[in-house]
Symmetry: C2
Subunit: 202 residues, 2 copies
């Protein structure tokens, strides 16, 4: 078997604001090699502790709209008044190199990725309960109450889209959620339709 011919997987992670995606992604990046996190571009203001080029690439609306016009984005969406988008070129290069690429994008963006890349693996992360999501959003204490209520309503609406995802992971603990995602990545690399191309003489 020639493992070098393997292409990387494109993995989309979605989930409501406050579910703990960033923490799960940090755990994944620390525990699994051969994984690249695609930092999204956004026009929203950085939160306390967020760094440009790490959590997001922070740009203004004029620059974001230039990127849209230039066709530089795999997908983009507007969400609670701000743009979020994903650069195309870097992702393509990593996948060709055999590196798995992780995207953290919301449901509108995920649907666009699925339409352009049907082989992408879509994972939705939920909290153990809605009450727990509300508690986490309030304990974060970075958003005013009306923004938190907007995020909860948005989460409620997004739950209807879960059926369009391949996998559903419950973030009860970060290590459980990360372990399930690692299993999903391993299983996807075992898909017969992908792996058969690596077997000589078939």
């Amino acid at each position: 078997m020639n493992r070098s011919r393997r292409k990387g997987e494109l993995i989309v992670l979605s989930g409501p604001s406050g579910v703990g995606k960033s923490t799960v992604i940090s755990e994944l990046m620390g525990s699994r090699g051969n994984l690249y996190f695609s930092v999204s571009f956004t026009t929203r203001a950085p939160r306390v502790g967020e760094a440009d080029g790490v959590n997001y690439n922070f740009v203004d609306r004029a620059e974001f709209e230039r990127m849209i016009a230039a066709g530089e984005l795999l997908e983009y969406a507007e969400y609670v008044g701000n743009y979020y988008g994903t650069s195309l070129k870097l992702i393509q290069d990593k996948i060709e190199e055999g590196i798995d690429v992780l995207l953290d994008i919301e449901v509108q963006g995920a649907a666009k990725v699925r339409a352009r890349c049907p082989e992408a693996v879509l994972i939705f992360i939920i909290p153990p309960s809605f009450e727990e999501l509300s508690r986490r959003l309030h304990s974060r204490a970075t958003d005013p109450e009306d923004v938190i209520q907007g995020r909860l309503q948005k989460a409620h609406d997004e739950y209807r889209e879960i059926v369009t995802y391949d996998y559903l992971v419950v973030n009860d603990t970060v290590s459980n959620a990360a372990a399930e995602i690692v299993s999903i990545l391993t299983a996807e690399s075992c898909r017969a339709k992908k792996r058969i191309n690596m077997i000589e003489g078939i």
Copy 2:
């Protein structure tokens, strides 16, 4: 989330004679709870070291043909002159109890299971190379040369059916193969379409 409502998975393992399925299955049964191995019925003679009710339920042709006529089999097939088949009732009970059921059956039987249970998870196990398979069959020293050649030809023919399986696992080492199958089982339990029924309020 109410995990008690989860049904078990039906997992089919196929692969050429000599690939080491029995050893991989022993490793799986030892490392993972909530997993039941469905012992097949067969009319072939026991090999050295094989026990009735453990490796197979060994029956004669008259008894096997009675089971066929009585509708007691999920699937059965004739392979290298012997019948192999799977009992239906016990599998159904285990799956309802939320226990994953593992079947070791060849490609004809797997196709019949897929037709009757579209949600079954089909895994094909291959050796690292065809030369390695030949070496393993000869080192086993339980079959005469013409039977070994028949098994190798059969393996060659079966490889064409790999595309009809969900997953392809390479048995380079038993622990690698078992770990990949454990990841596949975990990933399958995370499938959004299955798991969404366990989330309250969706």
